[in-house]
């Protein structure tokens, strides 16, 4: 089994197509939609956690690409600006997935982008605005 959080960019022509349906019906993949919207440029954007057998997962990704969907791992899109971060830790109890944690020894904050679900709660709550999302 493999499970990954990915960001899908749907070009304008695909925005009203039932693309994800095929992943479930034919490839038996589980999905959890973390975020979905259509941008002002009429591009569809979806953040998805996709889970299934490795073989089917890879086929699913291939299928999405063949439709013209651009894919990238979520971890590339949420960034902690380490120069801006003061390591205060006010984000820690806010993060719903414990992607932001404080090291009990150094009291520094670490960001595990693999755990991040891009809810963006931290983005506006960070006092020096050190958390950035670039979809």
């Amino acid at each position: 089994m493999v499970s990954k959080r990915i960001v899908l960019h749907f070009p304008h022509r695909l925005v009203n197509q039932p693309i994800i349906y095929k992943l479930v019906k034919e490839l038996d993949l589980q999905f959890n939609i973390l975020k979905a919207f259509v941008t002002p440029q009429e591009e569809g954007l979806m953040v998805l956690e996709l889970t299934g057998k490795r073989e089917n997962f890879d086929k699913g990704i291939e299928y999405l690409k063949s439709c013209g969907v651009r894919i990238q791992p979520l971890s590339q899109d949420v960034i902690r600006n380490e120069e801006r971060c003061t390591n205060c830790g006010v984000c820690v109890p806010i993060c719903p997935t414990q992607a932001l944690i404080v090291d009990p020894k150094t009291r520094e904050i670490s960001f595990d982008n693999k755990k991040c679900i891009a809810c963006e709660l931290c983005v506006k709550l960070c006092p020096p605005r050190a958390m950035e999302v670039h979809f």
Binding site: C88, G89, L125
Partner: protein
């Protein structure tokens, strides 16, 4: 045991022994107060938290022809500065925001840029845009000024904070069923989180709880440069209840500080945006504590386990000034990541960076060890615990209309 004069002689000779307020805790545990008081000359403290009553004043230099901004208007990067002074002196407060900022009209407001960010940009050496208007006089005829400014060209750039380095602070929680946005961060409903704001065992006034060594004129680390304690801070409240170790159970003393902005570094003066609340400035401060006697070491060795902060509801009690707390928690408990309130386990978040406070105490230690920083004798005491000096609420009085 030793005087500040003797400590300074040791600094000059390169023989001074300096430890941070964190290091002194372990030392005292291992060796005892008596021994450590004999060995250690100075304990360095540090804190790095937001403080709204911060600001900076600038003398921008006279223009040709002259302008009197005093009584006129002035903005820096669209953020209004206070102009009620002479011709070219202005003061930028940390919480100032542009006139066209939507504030909390779109709730919760984002407050992306304000006075604190202007100060950070100026310290970082960035050009800022000044727009000023004046009414014009015979000796100051000019009415309008638009120019870029840079810190290196200013006559004076001085950080002057009315209140800093709070001796302890509230732990904020939310008992209501809606999220609230406060100066201590977003508080999730129904005790969803508990936010605190202190460096605890590193915080200057918690390590010299009776202001025995810290006073007016004490030289300090301020924003990465050198500053001084100018006065007691506003809302200084030394008479509050204290624990056996002298630390205040609730917010107590405060410091007003001043220093040359030109020496400071933007990593120690950070403009911040508190969602739904406003703009504020995080200020890095480090205060050296001279080990005059054993009592000084005894106090400086207070540890997170023995320093407690009150838990206060910010949905009702704080805004409506209803006395009462939901209990207290030690900084050790707060640092564990959760505390228990009304039987519920509540995750904690700190608004004051402990790791930066460590860095500040280390940096100040290295300055003293290298001989770059000598200690000063305070010129006057801060109002003491038994002074009767206190902090009162405003007594509002109706304004009666005069009869014609």
């Amino acid at each position: 045991m030793r005087t500040i004069k003797e400590i300074n002689e040791k600094i000059r000779k390169g023989q001074v022994v300096v430890v941070t307020a964190e290091e002194v805790i372990d030392l005292v545990e291992k060796k005892g107060v008596k021994k450590v008081a004999q060995e250690v000359d100075v304990v360095t403290t540090g804190t790095f938290g937001p403080m709204c009553s911060s600001g900076a004043y600038f003398n921008i230099g006279h223009t040709k022809p002259r302008i009197k901004i005093g009584g006129g208007t002035c903005t820096l990067n669209d953020v209004p500065a206070y102009t009620g002074f002479a011709a070219v002196d202005i003061y930028m407060g940390a919480t100032a925001i542009p006139d066209d900022d939507p504030r909390n009209k779109v709730y919760p407001g984002e407050f992306k840029y304000g006075g604190a960010h202007v100060i950070e940009d100026i310290v970082a050496g960035k050009d800022v845009r000044l727009d000023a208007t004046a009414y014009g006089t015979d000796c100051y005829p000019r009415r309008k000024l638009e120019t870029l400014l840079n810190i290196k060209d200013l006559n004076e750039a001085v950080l002057f904070n009315m209140r800093n380095a709070y001796q302890n602070y509230n732990i904020a929680v939310n008992l209501s069923d809606k999220p609230i946005y406060t100066y201590l961060g977003m508080l999730k409903p129904n005790l969803g989180n508990a936010n605190y704001c202190s460096a605890g065992q590193l915080s200057p006034l918690l390590k010299d709880p009776y202001y025995k060594t810290i006073g007016i004129g004490t030289k300090i680390f301020l924003g990465g440069g050198i500053g001084f304690v100018a006065w007691q801070g506003t809302q200084h409240n030394p008479g509050v209840p204290r624990r056996e170790n002298g630390t205040t159970k609730v917010p107590g003393g405060t410091l007003s500080v001043i220093g040359d902005l030109k020496q400071m570094k933007s990593q120690y003066l950070v403009g911040t945006s508190m969602l739904g609340y406003g703009v504020t400035l995080i200020v890095g401060i480090g205060v050296p504590i001279p080990v005059l006697d054993e009592e000084v070491i005894q106090h400086a060795a207070a540890k997170d386990k023995d320093i407690y902060a009150p838990i206060v509801d910010y949905s009702q009690n704080y805004p409506q000034v209803i006395p009462g707390s939901l209990g207290e928690a030690s900084y050790e408990q707060l640092k564990s990541g959760k505390i228990t309130i009304q039987g519920k386990e509540v995750p904690t978040g700190n608004l004051s960076s402990y790791s930066k406070a460590v860095k500040i105490s280390e940096e100040l230690k290295s300055w003293i060890k290298k001989g770059d920083f000598e200690l000063t004798e305070p010129v006057a005491k801060l109002p003491a615990a038994d002074s009767g000096y206190s902090f009162k609420l405003l007594k509002e009085r109706p304004i009666l209309q005069k009869e014609e």
